[in-house]
């Protein structure tokens, strides 16, 4: 409020009252939005944790046979790769994000004489790559939601620390000034009236 010149008029007071009313109405909305964003971020983080645990479980399950993947006869890396991660746009807590839908793979067909473990490895790699792609999508969602959360928090701070107190101060100051002006006018009028009466008497 410091440095801002207030117009001590009834119009200005009405304008400040309107600002205060809107601010008081908006603040709970932003607070609710903050809560919703935080809760959504937590839910997504929990989902990421769940997926990581699933990846670990799959790795542990494959541990007894993972040695076969270093087979000198087969280069498993040439059998599978990710072509495209499929996503769709959705609104999460009012923010537009990409939701994971699936993965399109490039898979080389196995021949009759391709070792049987290749089938198992491709199956495992598909599952793990899908889970990793889902994590990537979710991490990107968290990034976007956190950006929005920062914005919302800045707005809440603005309302709590600037707009509402400023409007309240302005309304109070204008009210006092208008009251003082009114009293001064009445007093002046009384003085004028008294001096007029004295002039008539004389």
């Amino acid at each position: 409020m410091a440095g801002v010149k207030i117009k001590y008029t009834k119009t200005e007071r009405a304008r400040q009252k309107k600002i205060l009313k809107v601010s008081l109405r908006m603040l709970p909305l932003f607070e609710a939005m903050e809560k919703s964003l935080m809760s959504t971020i937590n839910t997504i983080a929990e989902r990421i944790e769940e997926i990581r645990q699933e990846i670990d479980r799959n790795n542990r399950k494959a541990e007894p046979w993972v040695a076969v993947m270093s087979d000198s006869h087969v280069d498993i890396t040439s059998f599978i790769s990710v072509n495209k991660v499929i996503t769709k746009h959705v609104d999460v807590a009012g923010v537009r994000v990409d939701q994971y839908e699936g993965v399109d793979f490039n898979v080389e067909p196995v021949q009759d004489d391709t070792p049987l473990w290749v089938d198992d490895a491709i199956e495992l790699m598909k599952v793990q790559l899908q889970l990793m792609a889902e994590i990537d999508c979710l991490e990107e969602q968290i990034r976007l939601l956190e950006e929005e959360l920062l914005d919302v928090r800045a707005r809440i701070k603005l309302f709590e620390n600037r707009r509402i107190p400023n409007a309240k101060t302005a309304i109070r100051k204008i009210g006092q000034k208008l009251q003082d002006d009114e009293r001064l006018t009445i007093a002046t009028a009384k003085v004028v009236k008294t001096s007029q009466k004295e002039g008539v008497m004389a």
């Binding site: 006869h73 490895a121 790699m125």
Partner: protein
């Protein structure tokens, strides 16, 4: 004949599951120096992974038969898995059905090894014996390439490749 005898006597004996006592390059060099050009030409295309050479010729009929039968059983295993039924195997041991992928490969290689025993039985200091030696060396090399740490690295390189830096 004397060259074959000399070669077979100079080669270390092989046992299933052991670390290969000689490399494939050393074997090739040794056999090239000991065998006649004609024998070496016959030995060169022998491969545990393919029944025929690049020109489609069969190096050793019994090996080709073994590989074909194995291929048929592998196809049957794949079909049975896709159709969710119990496979009917002609040659491979039934244990391969429920074994994990690593154990399954080992069982198949063990089966190949035993089949090679049958092929080589009664053969002493013949080219067939040298061929079987080469095939066994291939089996041992492959078996020895199975390594948990390296396998995990291969899996990680596919599932979690290093992310490319954005330009």
């Amino acid at each position: 004949m004397s060259n074959l005898v000399y070669l077979m006597c100079s080669l270390p004996s092989l046992k299933f599951g052991q670390v290969p006592p000689i490399s494939m390059d050393e074997f090739t060099e040794e056999s090239k120096s000991q065998l006649s050009a004609k024998h070496f030409k016959k030995l060169e295309p022998v491969d545990i992974y393919q029944a025929t050479d690049s020109e489609g010729k069969v190096s050793l009929k019994s090996i080709a038969v073994m590989l074909d039968e194995m291929k048929e059983d592998m196809a049957e295993l794949r079909a049975a898995k896709a159709q969710r039924r119990t496979p009917g195997l002609a040659r491979l041991p039934l244990a391969v059905v429920h074994a994990n992928p690593l154990e399954r490969e080992k069982l198949i290689m063990r089966w190949q090894w035993e089949e090679l025993d049958t092929i080589v039985s009664g053969e002493s200091f013949t080219l067939t014996e040298v061929m079987v030696y080469k095939l066994r060396l291939q089996i041992l090399n492959r078996l020895n390439s199975f390594n948990k740490e390296r396998g995990s690295q291969v899996l990680a390189s596919v599932v979690n490749p290093p992310k490319k830096k954005e330009e």
